[in-house]
Symmetry: C2
Subunit: 406 residues, 2 copies
């Protein structure tokens, strides 16, 4: 008998019919002999509706109250899932984040889980019930209700799976798994049956939309196998697991793209110690996350520092750079939101020296200019014009032999 | 400085505009120098929407999960009220029933409050915050979320006012107070500035729709003055307070009507001990509440027992009577749902012997037949045909001098 944590996202519980389908699947899983813990998100667009309502009521939204508001969504979906299970003769009980023992810090709207004390979940399992737990929420050390921020329901599911020593954490969503590229961009993209944690982290960090980096990190740290699959087709999806050292790895597993970033270049900076530190400290103090950073020093002792930020942070980041421009002696600050990032990810890349060359050749053969490059041991990212992103993904998908047989 | 508990019902927080109006009023109350604790219901028809959704999902609704579902409504309204208060510079904090220390028994969907431990409410008040508490909900001794049943938010407000020794519990609703009769029936009905707890209990029990009997009882027991008033006009409404023995009381304060009941007559019953006991035990065991009971014994040693029940219970009650009919030796069981009850209520009635006569004369002069009569020390109720109820109320309202000057 395995213990399976099944997490159902917003589209998976989007209406009454979907909720009944979820209950059917939970019942099937139990009939197959497994214990199940369910984690649910709020129904479909319910959270968006609540935020619109809050906008209507007040321009001010204290974070504590925003959390109180938003956590009502999972209450609704989990109670409905339990009712649907009851109709199938499966006994279950719903638990709020607080009741499930999900203890967080006090950082409202983006709290971090400090500890899980799943006493009531253990008790429910021992009684033969299916515990249905509210995703995305917890209770703070100040006894206030908190939310875990974007992708929070996945975090709940993975953390709970770790605390319960579950055999697998299944993430049910509206796609059938993780693909070798975005199928909307590459029609011959293939579903990947198996991806390593390291690869999945790079995929999530560079534009893969299925899982957030945070929950993959958590799963890797606690050795929780993830299985990303569809609650519409119920077919097996993508397993995200430890790297298997006995197997030969694909050189390149996936091509990702991300057009949500913009680039800032701080140009003509004197190349002396402390300049970069001053610049990135100022950005960090403003809460701006910097992604890629590239610095090149010319022969004249001046350097250009380019970096990418979320496009939504571009104005704030530009302002910050201009504020420190004089202090660091920079000649100019320029910004560019017409960029996109294309990345290749693969655990086998470590031992295949020709990969970088093939990526650059493929792009250059088609006249695609590479504006920034950054690498990790299992990823290479290139910044190109937004208009060339989709084409780049398709070319690289073919060049690295990922196209599905037609 | 007074401590005021303000309870806002569903229509009072029905949309964004109403919620802002509530926040304005709370801010005004604070500016006048009072401390405020707010209790809110779910927004308008939100609870009905959730029940419809549950019906869609499942024919089975475990009470524990129904409570989990329904308590999401107050979370939403209280968080929104806090946001609207923040926009006015009033610091507040929302509290679920559990956080407010409202401990109930484990009887889901109609739990009773066992105890209130308002530690966090006291703390919030001491910090100068406005606590905004979810009505209708609590946490059971089993740590599960419960609801208090119909009129539950009023119960929360009154119980909290008692626990906090508040000076007044204000019940905001969509009417301007308690009237001498239903204004839809009697156009010259007057708003009552002041009603005693005893009178209000009789009014609530015989068809007054503003307050449920349960919360009036609770307020009387704990000596919590109630002030029923409108959140649309904000004018002073009706105070429900201890009887003032120094004041002359109106003989008749209000005329009420109730057409939600039906009558059952168990006829030709041998007049011997234990017959009524057997009959009403059988009904009680089926969970059927009996309201008026009238028994008349004829010269032949046979008796007719008539009683009223909620019309929705009529079929179950008739079936139960037929089941025991043979055992108690009754000749027949008949039922009639075409009846209504008209009552006159007044604390001064105790010392005015002519009241009963005037009531019966008024009805008989207009050819209205009285089918059942029941009395308490401050109330007389008559059962008449449904078609004559409104007319009876209007006639009695005039006869007892309650008509407003036109």
């Amino acid at each position: 008998m395995s213990l399976v944590v099944q997490k159902y996202g917003g589209t998976s519980v989007g209406d009454a019919e979907r909720i009944r389908a979820v209950a059917d699947h939970v019942a099937r899983t139990r009939e197959a002999g497994d214990q199940v813990v369910v984690v649910v998100s709020a129904m479909g667009k319910f959270t968006d509706d609540l935020i619109r309502l809050a906008d209507d009521v007040s321009p001010t939204r204290p974070p504590r109250e925003l959390d109180m508001l938003l956590t009502s969504g999972e209450r609704i979906s989990m109670a409905l899932v339990c009712m649907a299970l009851a109709a199938r003769g499966v006994e279950s009980a719903s638990f709020t984040g607080s009741q499930a023992g999900i203890i967080t810090d006090t950082d409202h709207t983006r709290a971090k889980i400090l500890e899980i004390r799943p006493t009531r979940i253990d008790e429910a399992l021992a009684e033969g019930l299916v515990p249905v737990v509210a995703g995305f929420q917890g209770v703070s050390t100040d006894r206030d209700i908190t939310t875990l921020g974007r992708g929070g329901s996945d975090v709940t599911a993975v953390a709970l799976a770790a605390a319960l020593s579950a055999d697998v954490c299944e993430i049910y969503t509206d796609v059938t798994g993780v693909f070798s590229a975005d199928p909307r961009v590459v029609s011959r993209a293939r579903r990947l049956p198996r991806v390593s944690f390291d690869e999945m982290m790079e995929i999530a960090a560079t534009g893969g939309r299925v899982l957030m980096l945070r929950s993959v990190e958590l799963a890797r740290r606690h050795h929780v196998p993830l299985h990303v699959r569809s609650s519409f087709t119920w077919e097996p999806g993508t397993w995200i697991v430890e790297e298997d050292p006995t197997m030969e790895e694909a050189v390149v597993t996936a091509i990702t793209d991300d057009t949500s970033e913009a680039k800032i270049t701080v140009g003509g900076v004197p190349d002396r110690p402390g300049v970069a530190a001053r610049l990135f400290r100022a950005l960090a103090d403003r809460g701006i996350n910097v992604d890629m950073i590239v610095q090149n020093t010319g022969a004249n002792g001046l350097t250009d520092i380019s970096f990418t930020v979320a496009a939504t942070d571009l104005d704030a980041a530009s302002d910050t750079c201009r504020e420190v421009q004089r202090e660091i002696g920079a000649a100019q600050v320029t910004s560019d939101d017409d960029i996109g990032r294309v990345s290749i990810v693969g655990a086998g890349m470590k031992s295949s020296p020709g990969v970088t060359a093939l990526m650059f050749e493929t792009l250059s053969e088609h006249g695609i200019n590479i504006e920034m490059i950054s690498t990790s041991s299992i990823r290479i990212s290139c910044v190109v014009r937004t208009s060339r992103v989709a084409e780049s993904v398709r070319l690289l998908h073919s060049a690295f032999g990922l196209d599905a047989a037609s």
